[in-house]
Symmetry: D2
Subunit: 184 residues, 4 copies
């Protein structure tokens, strides 16, 4: 199953957060457009395109309007991309936005990646001011298109969630294969 | 004097139109966002950046929503960039959107360039659905920013012009140094 | 017919030279490696790749070792690419090496283009220190390959031409369809 | 101290080799030009420029003429760039030439990096057919220049080393701070 466009996006399931003092939640970002860039530090397309693009987004829009969040969804070469390597990677590539490490799952696919139905890396999720998933891209997205999508969402006034939305969100979250983090 | 942000943009003064059967007017484009890319065919920054970007805009947005118009504002090397050369240039670079040739002025600067207060090429003007000038850039504009600006204007509902706007437009046009084309 | 690899390259047939005070001849360049970049000023691949590459060659090698010469071989849109336009083009793109305008032929193809058997633009000819044609490329050539080819020729010691070579050169020149410029 | 231009380059001190069945030695590559690209897998300039360039070199020249060898000289973030991560990196970036892992030293700088006097990554060493160091670059090298340097070395006929060269090589090796691998 996959995160549905037009529905509240469930919170990512995260084993740790980098570049921030405290965990980030999507609910705390309500009121802003949120761009989630999902990547692997050893994925060439992520390094060459998606992450530099995310840095441009972070630089080009006011942080009070658009939040950029990274999600490190390792689904291959797990031993090669541990937190210590990711930390050095973020430092060397000067990636300063918050980055979540996707909660390892029971198989190769980590939890948020599974819950969100991501096909691979890089994937890009756009969430509106109300937390609703509005775009889901796999692979390279042109800057012109991405800029337009972000601005289209910025132009929407946030509307308070209805109880239906909340229910939807909860159900989305429970349906995921990874609700409970491993004991470690 | 220069075209003012927030005011109706006067029609360009054009000696001929290429890539179209009949002249284009901004008033006929009301209801769409309009991007005017002003260029010279021998300006390296125009060829390398502004014109490919304009082609991406034309490809990326529905023509019913966003109109791309070129304006060839030759202010140097006039003999080198005559219509016959421009036609071949547009053909070779596969530029298919309408291109206006700016009306030659009494000096080196052509009429629309003077009326719009352009500083050089490439310059880029963005007009909202009501014909109001909303952005004026000189030089290279990042795709991310341009995409956002266009989408921001797309998100606005067109509002009918008031009689004040019309008056403004007329006065803007008369104030230009180039209303009457030179005799030659 | 076409210029043969391993044979002396005939002098180009030139209607005028730009960027120099006096005509350039290949024979006067004996002792140096010569790179001839043939182009049309409105050919996108020439503007984007071949000419910037030729400028890099001119910057990267000592002028006493490697001579870069442009040859403007207009075979389409002739009216669009007259000398006045080419002059402005060279100025705007800061092309400082000598550029020859290929002698117009009886048809669309100019004389040197025909004599050299060029397939289109950009084409690139490499001549060794003795004036012998050693490489003939049509289209884009990677810098790595070009750098290697030039250095390979630089590493050869020039050998004095034999009388046989001279005869070959003369016969090559006479065989061309374009020795005499058209009357117009 | 640093490897001297014009002198035999000492063999690298290597903790393990990747992409090969058996260790590579420079002496076994005598007769070919050798390009050593020294890098760190998390060095942005290496990933964006030096390694793709090394791949182009490997593709553009016959393997019997030019050998490309990588040397992973980790001098920072050591825990982040262990062999398991490097292996995944090479796989993902499709780097197929032999890669040596520089022998860890007593401090942060690994042994070959110290012995060769490298200033950082990427660095590039060119060795002639006789094993003599002929070029040492730190940072980005244009393809045109690199292609020319390689071809210049290819054009040299290999000359048998004299006993003086051999002595030099031995002394160079002993002078290094890292002959003995650390105990760990």
């Amino acid at each position: 199953m996959s995160a549905a466009l037009g529905r509240l996006l469930a919170e990512p399931q995260v084993s740790s957060w980098l570049n921030v003092h405290a965990p980030v939640t999507l609910s705390a970002l309500r009121g802003r457009v949120v761009m989630i860039v999902t990547f692997q530090m050893l994925c060439p397309g992520c390094v060459a395109h998606a992450l530099p693009q995310a840095q441009r987004v972070a630089r080009s829009f006011a942080a009070s309007e658009v939040a950029v969040v990274g999600l490190h969804t390792v689904f291959e070469h797990h031993a090669a991309m541990q937190e210590v390597s990711l930390r050095a990677f973020l430092h060397e590539y000067r990636i300063a936005f918050p980055v979540a490490i996707d909660q390892p799952g029971s198989g190769a696919i980590p939890c948020s990646m599974q819950a969100y139905g991501l096909r691979g890396t890089p994937s890009l999720l756009l969430i509106d001011r109300d937390g609703i998933l509005r775009a889901h891209h796999f692979g390279e997205v042109p800057d012109l298109v991405l800029g337009a999508e972000i601005a289209g969402l910025m132009a929407q006034n946030g509307v308070r969630r209805t109880s239906e939305d909340s229910a939807m969100s909860a159900s989305g979250r429970e349906a995921s294969a990874c609700v409970r983090p491993p004991a470690d």
